[in-house]
Amino acid sequence: MENNPYKPEIAVIEKIREETTGPRAIKTFTVSFQDEKVKKSFTYKSGQTAMLSVFGKGECMICITSTPTKKGFLEFSVMLQGKVTSALHALKVGDTIGVRGPYGNDFPLDKWKGKNLLFIGGGIGQAPLRSVYLNALDNRKDYGDITLIYGARTLSDLAYKEEMFELEKRDDVNVFLCLDWKFGKDGIIDEEAEEGWVTINRKEPAKTKPRKGTSRFTGFVPEVVTAVKPSPENAIAVSCGPPIMIKYAVANLKTLGFKDDQIYTTLEMRMKCGIGKCGRCNIGSIYVCKDGPVFSMSQLEKIPKEY
């Protein structure tokens, strides 16, 4: 069959990094296509997704978390969920998986040239953002300020930890890490956490004093947004993570003066085909698999709230 979009290409797992542990553990897989021709011809853009197969278990849609500026491999960060994600977590280096794609639209990085970029991520939501900020950082001169706000429940729930700590050291990107839980008090102690995390003023987050450049906080991501006070001037904000985090982060961005067409996010719907045929990922007349997953808040205003 020629051009069968349902037929995956075979890829070999080259590296597995355990990002977080526990019942919702995250692992990042570095894979490369077995077929040299496919390895060369497979191109993608930041924000696009791919359908991963564990043969015998099925398929699941995962966003490509690597940046297209680095060639020859793909990275996927997979959170342990059900059948296929569990099967993926059981694989070892050298094992093979199926990959088909890339699918969907991308973040319009070309349109954002010259702008200040703000990335607001929570949990596994950092996976789609990572492709975009690594891409922007590889084309550093094309963009203004680049700011990352990334939160997790505890320090051990923070993915891409080493990479984040390296980014903290750079002076061309502002990094704000945040943990939901204050350690030591409230009966919740994060064993791994070190000193030096600024506690958010819960009553008036705006009064929290972050250091310029890089800071570490304990507090919820939306509160950190308010504390950091990013300027809406010539800026784009992208927020991915749990729906509740996105909701409040977006509200706080709007209070700061961000408009709907300056704020982007990604949507998730259950998916099977990835190419707009199987029907299930529709919201109104759009199919998230091919028309999404990237949407601006002004685009979301126009579709039914059925996601």
Partner: protein
């Protein structure tokens, strides 16, 4: 893939007593036609043309399964040594004839043609469809639930067909609509040119059939109307008795949603596609338990919106051909015709 525009339709007639001989001559093809078994009529592969039952207006299940099987193996995967993986695709070169398909069902397939082509071609559908010849049978006795004329169709619609046959007494009047259809006619001497008298009778039969469908619904108003009815209480009321059984979508000639799953046996895996239904809660539920369409009112609303707005937004035509199956076979008498009427009046 629909009837090629360049072809100029030609008219023939065939004697009813010669139909069996015509079909027997088509031995290169697998022929699907309506067959009666006890009190249901369904499209089945026929070996013996005498079994064909054309007396019933339409079959319980639509014949869409010939181009979109209810279950099909998409890929066969063999896991070998050292993580080697071999993927085989099916060979789909079986040639099919759909004999006696009703105009509404042919229009249903014409709708599917557009869905399965486009940005991404579905090679399984496209291949099967290219290998399928559709011989339609004009309706002379529409069922009480038929409403094709309200949704752009007609008892003698030719959309999607390669030939349209009309019962004109001892003869079938045969309008050949495509090259694919012409090839079958040319292969035999059974067909003769239609006379002007034959044409007159055919036109009369068509006219009578049109007149039998007395009700005209204002279905064309729906794409616009539905823009503002998403949050309407109507959906809670109208979906109250729905069982969520999915019969309406399985029998519908234009429903095409599917699921893909793996079946594993030792080192062999089959990746299988099966029909699915937007009326099931499992259709949209995430692993986390979150469901964007958690209740039957959300799901019924989606079915009606898909047919009468979303499909129209994307393809500029309604996604329903008015076959009436979802009305006739709903176990709790949900009535799409009534729904259309009520929505059009809102």
């Amino acid at each position: 893939m629909t009837s090629s525009n360049s072809f100029k339709a030609e008219n023939f007639v065939i004697k009813k007593e010669d139909v069996a001989q015509f079909l027997k001559g088509l031995s290169d093809y697998t022929i699907y036609a309506p067959v009666q078994e006890e009190d249901t009529v369904l499209f089945k592969v026929i070996q013996n043309p005498d079994k064909i039952a054309l007396h019933i207006t339409n079959t319980v299940k639509s014949p869409k399964f010939v181009v979109l099987p209810q279950t099909e193996t998409m890929l066969k995967v063999t896991k070998g040594k050292e993580n080697s993986i071999k993927i085989d695709e099916p060979v789909l070169d079986e040639k099919n004839i759909l004999f006696g398909i009703r105009p509404c069902d042919a229009r249903g397939i014409a709708i599917l043609d557009k869905v399965f082509s486009g940005d991404y071609k579905d090679p399984y559908y496209v291949k099967r469809r290219a290998n399928t010849i559709m011989i339609g049978l004009a309706c002379t006795d529409p069922h009480r639930n038929c409403f094709c004329t309200s949704v752009g169709g007609a008892p003698d619609s030719t959309d999607g067909l390669d030939m349209l046959w009309t019962d004109i007494g001892d003869l079938y009047f045969v309008t050949v609509l495509t090259k694919k259809g012409m090839k079958l006619v040319k292969e035999t001497v059974i067909f003769s040119k239609a006379t002007s008298e034959n044409t007159r009778v055919m036109n009369k039969v068509h006219k009578t059939a049109h007149e039998k469908i007395t009700e005209k619904l204002n279905a064309d108003a729906l794409p616009k109307k539905l823009e503002n009815l998403f949050e309407d209480k109507y959906w809670d009321e109208v979906s109250m008795k729905c069982l969520g059984c999915g019969s309406c979508t399985y029998l519908c000639p234009t429903c095409y949603c599917f699921d893909i799953n793996d079946i594993e046996y030792r080192d062999k895996v089959k990746r299988v596609r099966t029909w699915d239904s937007c009326q099931f809660s499992s259709y949209t539920i995430h692993t986390s338990g979150h469901n964007p369409r958690p209740n039957k009112e959300n799901r019924m609303r989606n079915r009606v919106y898909h047919k009468y707005k979303y499909h129209h937004d994307n393809y500029n035509e309604l996604g329903c051909v008015g076959c009436g199956r979802c009305i006739t076979y709903c176990p709790v008498d949900m009535n799409l015709k009534a729904t259309i009427k009520e929505l059009a009046e809102k």
